[in-house]
Symmetry: C2
Subunit: 152 residues, 2 copies
Protein backbone atom coordinates (compact mmCIF):
# COMPACT_ATOMS: atom_id res chain seq x y z
CA UNK A 1 0.00 0.00 0.00
CA UNK A 2 3.00 2.26 0.58
CA UNK A 3 5.68 2.62 -2.04
CA UNK A 4 9.30 1.62 -1.75
CA UNK A 5 10.14 5.33 -1.83
CA UNK A 6 7.97 5.97 1.23
CA UNK A 7 9.54 3.03 3.05
CA UNK A 8 13.06 4.26 2.27
CA UNK A 9 12.34 7.89 3.16
CA UNK A 10 10.89 6.88 6.52
CA UNK A 11 13.85 4.67 7.34
CA UNK A 12 16.24 7.52 6.52
CA UNK A 13 14.27 10.05 8.57
CA UNK A 14 14.02 7.75 11.60
CA UNK A 15 17.75 7.20 11.36
CA UNK A 16 18.41 10.95 11.23
CA UNK A 17 16.02 11.49 14.14
CA UNK A 18 17.97 9.01 16.21
CA UNK A 19 21.28 10.59 15.23
CA UNK A 20 20.06 14.18 15.79
CA UNK A 21 21.51 16.68 16.15
CA UNK A 22 24.51 14.97 14.52
CA UNK A 23 24.38 14.89 10.70
CA UNK A 24 24.77 11.71 8.69
CA UNK A 25 26.23 11.28 5.22
CA UNK A 26 24.35 9.43 2.49
CA UNK A 27 26.85 6.61 2.84
CA UNK A 28 26.19 6.33 6.57
CA UNK A 29 22.42 6.47 6.12
CA UNK A 30 22.59 3.87 3.35
CA UNK A 31 24.66 1.48 5.49
CA UNK A 32 22.38 1.88 8.49
CA UNK A 33 19.05 1.63 6.70
CA UNK A 34 19.98 -0.79 3.90
CA UNK A 35 18.69 1.62 1.29
CA UNK A 36 20.72 1.45 -1.98
CA UNK A 37 22.95 4.53 -2.23
CA UNK A 38 21.65 5.76 -5.61
CA UNK A 39 18.02 5.43 -4.56
CA UNK A 40 18.77 7.08 -1.22
CA UNK A 41 20.40 10.09 -2.90
CA UNK A 42 17.19 10.78 -4.84
CA UNK A 43 15.03 10.33 -1.75
CA UNK A 44 17.23 12.73 0.23
CA UNK A 45 16.92 15.30 -2.57
CA UNK A 46 13.13 15.12 -2.28
CA UNK A 47 13.30 15.46 1.50
CA UNK A 48 15.61 18.46 1.14
CA UNK A 49 13.32 20.09 -1.44
CA UNK A 50 10.45 19.69 1.02
CA UNK A 51 12.52 21.43 3.70
CA UNK A 52 12.67 18.44 6.04
CA UNK A 53 16.44 17.94 5.87
CA UNK A 54 19.39 20.15 5.08
CA UNK A 55 22.81 19.21 3.79
CA UNK A 56 25.89 20.44 5.62
CA UNK A 57 29.10 20.35 3.59
CA UNK A 58 32.61 19.54 4.70
CA UNK A 59 34.20 17.25 7.26
CA UNK A 60 31.62 16.12 9.79
CA UNK A 61 28.91 17.19 7.37
CA UNK A 62 25.96 15.32 5.96
CA UNK A 63 22.19 15.50 6.21
CA UNK A 64 20.43 16.74 9.32
CA UNK A 65 16.80 17.40 10.23
CA UNK A 66 15.64 21.00 9.94
CA UNK A 67 13.25 20.62 12.89
CA UNK A 68 13.24 18.57 16.09
CA UNK A 69 11.97 14.97 15.60
CA UNK A 70 8.79 15.73 17.54
CA UNK A 71 7.91 18.42 14.99
CA UNK A 72 8.15 16.17 11.91
CA UNK A 73 5.38 13.64 11.31
CA UNK A 74 5.15 10.53 9.17
CA UNK A 75 2.68 12.53 7.11
CA UNK A 76 5.29 15.23 6.40
CA UNK A 77 7.73 12.60 5.15
CA UNK A 78 5.16 10.77 3.01
CA UNK A 79 3.93 14.02 1.45
CA UNK A 80 7.51 14.97 0.59
CA UNK A 81 8.25 11.86 -1.47
CA UNK A 82 5.03 10.15 -2.61
CA UNK A 83 2.01 12.11 -1.39
CA UNK A 84 -1.23 10.60 -0.16
CA UNK A 85 -3.90 11.97 -2.47
CA UNK A 86 -7.39 12.40 -1.07
CA UNK A 87 -10.27 11.83 -3.51
CA UNK A 88 -11.94 15.21 -3.75
CA UNK A 89 -13.32 14.96 -7.28
CA UNK A 90 -15.06 12.17 -9.16
CA UNK A 91 -12.25 10.16 -10.82
CA UNK A 92 -14.58 9.57 -13.78
CA UNK A 93 -15.25 13.26 -14.15
CA UNK A 94 -19.01 12.77 -13.89
CA UNK A 95 -20.67 16.17 -13.49
CA UNK A 96 -23.37 14.58 -11.31
CA UNK A 97 -20.69 13.58 -8.81
CA UNK A 98 -18.84 16.89 -8.77
CA UNK A 99 -20.47 17.99 -5.53
CA UNK A 100 -20.92 14.62 -3.91
CA UNK A 101 -18.86 11.53 -4.65
CA UNK A 102 -20.50 8.14 -5.18
CA UNK A 103 -20.40 5.65 -2.31
CA UNK A 104 -17.40 3.79 -3.74
CA UNK A 105 -15.19 6.85 -3.92
CA UNK A 106 -16.36 8.18 -0.57
CA UNK A 107 -15.45 4.83 0.99
CA UNK A 108 -12.01 4.85 -0.64
CA UNK A 109 -11.46 8.43 0.47
CA UNK A 110 -12.44 7.52 4.04
CA UNK A 111 -9.71 4.88 4.03
CA UNK A 112 -7.14 7.40 2.82
CA UNK A 113 -8.38 9.89 5.44
CA UNK A 114 -7.90 7.31 8.22
CA UNK A 115 -4.31 6.76 7.15
CA UNK A 116 -3.72 10.51 6.82
CA UNK A 117 -5.00 11.07 10.36
CA UNK A 118 -2.82 8.33 11.79
CA UNK A 119 0.26 9.66 9.98
CA UNK A 120 -0.40 13.26 11.06
CA UNK A 121 -0.56 12.10 14.69
CA UNK A 122 2.75 10.25 14.61
CA UNK A 123 6.02 12.14 14.86
CA UNK A 124 9.52 10.87 14.26
CA UNK A 125 10.00 11.20 18.02
CA UNK A 126 7.16 8.69 18.53
CA UNK A 127 9.11 6.24 16.40
CA UNK A 128 12.36 6.66 18.28
CA UNK A 129 11.26 7.35 21.86
CA UNK A 130 11.06 3.79 23.12
CA UNK A 131 14.75 3.13 23.46
CA UNK A 132 15.40 -0.33 24.69
CA UNK A 133 11.80 -1.44 24.41
CA UNK A 134 12.57 -2.95 21.02
CA UNK A 135 16.29 -3.46 21.29
CA UNK A 136 18.49 -3.89 18.30
CA UNK A 137 20.92 -6.73 17.85
CA UNK A 138 23.20 -5.51 20.62
CA UNK A 139 20.60 -6.05 23.32
CA UNK A 140 18.50 -3.80 25.56
CA UNK A 141 19.59 -0.33 26.46
CA UNK A 142 21.93 0.15 23.53
CA UNK A 143 19.54 2.58 21.89
CA UNK A 144 17.43 2.55 18.80
CA UNK A 145 20.29 3.53 16.55
CA UNK A 146 21.15 -0.15 16.47
CA UNK A 147 17.73 -0.69 14.95
CA UNK A 148 18.95 -0.37 11.39
CA UNK A 149 22.54 -1.46 11.88
CA UNK A 150 23.34 -3.87 9.07
CA UNK A 151 24.82 -7.24 9.63
CA UNK A 152 23.57 -7.75 13.15
CA UNK B 1 -2.52 5.12 -2.11
CA UNK B 2 -4.55 2.71 -4.23
CA UNK B 3 -3.40 1.72 -7.68
CA UNK B 4 -5.15 2.43 -10.96
CA UNK B 5 -5.78 -1.31 -11.20
CA UNK B 6 -7.63 -1.30 -7.88
CA UNK B 7 -9.70 1.71 -8.94
CA UNK B 8 -10.65 0.08 -12.25
CA UNK B 9 -11.44 -3.31 -10.71
CA UNK B 10 -13.73 -1.72 -8.14
CA UNK B 11 -15.56 0.33 -10.77
CA UNK B 12 -16.11 -2.82 -12.84
CA UNK B 13 -17.31 -4.85 -9.86
CA UNK B 14 -19.71 -2.13 -8.68
CA UNK B 15 -21.07 -1.96 -12.21
CA UNK B 16 -21.57 -5.74 -12.32
CA UNK B 17 -23.19 -5.65 -8.88
CA UNK B 18 -25.68 -3.07 -10.10
CA UNK B 19 -26.39 -5.08 -13.26
CA UNK B 20 -26.68 -8.43 -11.42
CA UNK B 21 -27.84 -10.97 -12.21
CA UNK B 22 -27.55 -9.79 -15.83
CA UNK B 23 -24.05 -10.23 -17.32
CA UNK B 24 -22.14 -7.41 -18.98
CA UNK B 25 -19.62 -7.60 -21.81
CA UNK B 26 -16.20 -6.00 -21.53
CA UNK B 27 -17.35 -3.40 -24.04
CA UNK B 28 -20.38 -2.53 -21.92
CA UNK B 29 -18.35 -2.41 -18.70
CA UNK B 30 -15.71 -0.25 -20.38
CA UNK B 31 -18.30 2.20 -21.68
CA UNK B 32 -20.05 2.44 -18.33
CA UNK B 33 -16.97 2.75 -16.14
CA UNK B 34 -14.66 4.66 -18.50
CA UNK B 35 -11.97 2.03 -18.08
CA UNK B 36 -9.89 1.55 -21.29
CA UNK B 37 -10.91 -1.71 -22.97
CA UNK B 38 -7.45 -3.30 -23.06
CA UNK B 39 -6.77 -2.49 -19.41
CA UNK B 40 -10.23 -3.71 -18.44
CA UNK B 41 -9.70 -7.07 -20.17
CA UNK B 42 -6.63 -7.73 -18.01
CA UNK B 43 -8.43 -6.66 -14.85
CA UNK B 44 -11.37 -8.96 -15.64
CA UNK B 45 -8.95 -11.86 -16.17
CA UNK B 46 -7.54 -11.29 -12.67
CA UNK B 47 -11.04 -11.09 -11.19
CA UNK B 48 -11.99 -14.32 -13.00
CA UNK B 49 -8.83 -16.09 -11.80
CA UNK B 50 -9.74 -15.08 -8.24
CA UNK B 51 -13.18 -16.61 -8.72
CA UNK B 52 -15.10 -13.35 -8.29
CA UNK B 53 -16.54 -13.22 -11.81
CA UNK B 54 -17.31 -15.77 -14.48
CA UNK B 55 -17.55 -15.32 -18.22
CA UNK B 56 -20.64 -16.56 -20.06
CA UNK B 57 -20.21 -17.04 -23.81
CA UNK B 58 -22.67 -16.41 -26.59
CA UNK B 59 -25.45 -13.94 -27.24
CA UNK B 60 -26.50 -12.22 -24.03
CA UNK B 61 -23.24 -13.38 -22.48
CA UNK B 62 -20.53 -11.46 -20.68
CA UNK B 63 -19.14 -11.27 -17.19
CA UNK B 64 -21.26 -11.90 -14.12
CA UNK B 65 -20.55 -12.10 -10.38
CA UNK B 66 -20.12 -15.57 -8.94
CA UNK B 67 -21.68 -14.58 -5.61
CA UNK B 68 -24.35 -12.10 -4.54
CA UNK B 69 -23.05 -8.51 -4.13
CA UNK B 70 -23.48 -8.70 -0.35
CA UNK B 71 -21.03 -11.61 -0.26
CA UNK B 72 -18.20 -9.87 -2.10
CA UNK B 73 -16.21 -7.21 -0.22
CA UNK B 74 -13.93 -4.41 -1.35
CA UNK B 75 -11.18 -6.47 0.29
CA UNK B 76 -11.92 -9.46 -1.98
CA UNK B 77 -11.62 -7.26 -5.07
CA UNK B 78 -8.43 -5.54 -3.94
CA UNK B 79 -6.77 -8.84 -3.03
CA UNK B 80 -7.65 -10.23 -6.46
CA UNK B 81 -5.86 -7.52 -8.42
CA UNK B 82 -3.28 -5.70 -6.27
CA UNK B 83 -3.23 -7.19 -2.78
CA UNK B 84 -2.80 -5.25 0.44
CA UNK B 85 0.32 -6.68 2.05
CA UNK B 86 0.55 -6.59 5.83
CA UNK B 87 4.03 -6.13 7.30
CA UNK B 88 4.67 -9.34 9.17
CA UNK B 89 8.46 -9.48 8.89
CA UNK B 90 11.14 -6.84 9.25
CA UNK B 91 11.57 -5.35 5.74
CA UNK B 92 15.29 -4.97 6.49
CA UNK B 93 15.59 -8.62 7.47
CA UNK B 94 17.04 -7.76 10.87
CA UNK B 95 17.08 -10.92 13.00
CA UNK B 96 16.46 -8.81 16.13
CA UNK B 97 13.14 -7.70 14.64
CA UNK B 98 11.99 -11.10 13.45
CA UNK B 99 9.70 -11.59 16.43
CA UNK B 100 8.77 -7.99 17.05
CA UNK B 101 8.81 -5.23 14.47
CA UNK B 102 10.29 -1.82 15.24
CA UNK B 103 7.92 1.03 16.01
CA UNK B 104 8.05 2.39 12.45
CA UNK B 105 6.97 -0.84 10.84
CA UNK B 106 4.36 -1.56 13.48
CA UNK B 107 2.89 1.88 12.84
CA UNK B 108 2.84 1.32 9.07
CA UNK B 109 1.27 -2.10 9.55
CA UNK B 110 -1.41 -0.62 11.81
CA UNK B 111 -2.35 1.74 8.99
CA UNK B 112 -2.62 -1.15 6.53
CA UNK B 113 -4.64 -3.11 9.09
CA UNK B 114 -7.11 -0.23 9.46
CA UNK B 115 -7.68 -0.15 5.72
CA UNK B 116 -7.97 -3.94 5.57
CA UNK B 117 -10.62 -3.88 8.32
CA UNK B 118 -12.62 -1.18 6.57
CA UNK B 119 -12.46 -3.01 3.24
CA UNK B 120 -13.45 -6.34 4.78
CA UNK B 121 -16.53 -4.69 6.30
CA UNK B 122 -17.73 -3.17 3.03
CA UNK B 123 -19.55 -5.29 0.48
CA UNK B 124 -20.41 -4.42 -3.10
CA UNK B 125 -24.02 -4.27 -1.90
CA UNK B 126 -23.03 -1.46 0.50
CA UNK B 127 -21.74 0.46 -2.49
CA UNK B 128 -24.88 0.05 -4.54
CA UNK B 129 -27.66 0.01 -1.95
CA UNK B 130 -28.32 3.72 -1.75
CA UNK B 131 -30.15 4.06 -5.04
CA UNK B 132 -31.24 7.57 -5.61
CA UNK B 133 -29.35 8.96 -2.64
CA UNK B 134 -26.54 9.94 -4.95
CA UNK B 135 -28.35 10.13 -8.25
CA UNK B 136 -26.57 9.94 -11.53
CA UNK B 137 -27.01 12.43 -14.31
CA UNK B 138 -30.58 11.39 -14.99
CA UNK B 139 -31.84 12.55 -11.61
CA UNK B 140 -33.11 10.80 -8.50
CA UNK B 141 -34.70 7.40 -8.60
CA UNK B 142 -33.11 6.34 -11.85
CA UNK B 143 -30.81 3.94 -10.04
CA UNK B 144 -27.14 3.77 -9.45
CA UNK B 145 -26.42 2.22 -12.83
CA UNK B 146 -26.38 5.77 -14.12
CA UNK B 147 -23.48 6.35 -11.79
CA UNK B 148 -20.87 5.39 -14.34
CA UNK B 149 -22.80 6.20 -17.51
CA UNK B 150 -20.47 8.10 -19.76
CA UNK B 151 -21.33 11.40 -21.32
CA UNK B 152 -23.83 12.52 -18.76
Amino acid sequence: MFSQTVEYALRAMVHLAEAAPAPRTNREISAATRVPLGYLAKVMQSLARAGLVVSQRGIGGGFGLTRPPQEITIYDVVQAVDPLKRITRCPLGLPAHSERLCTLHRRLDEAIAMVERSFRETSLADLTAKEGTFPGCDGPGVGTLTRFRPGC
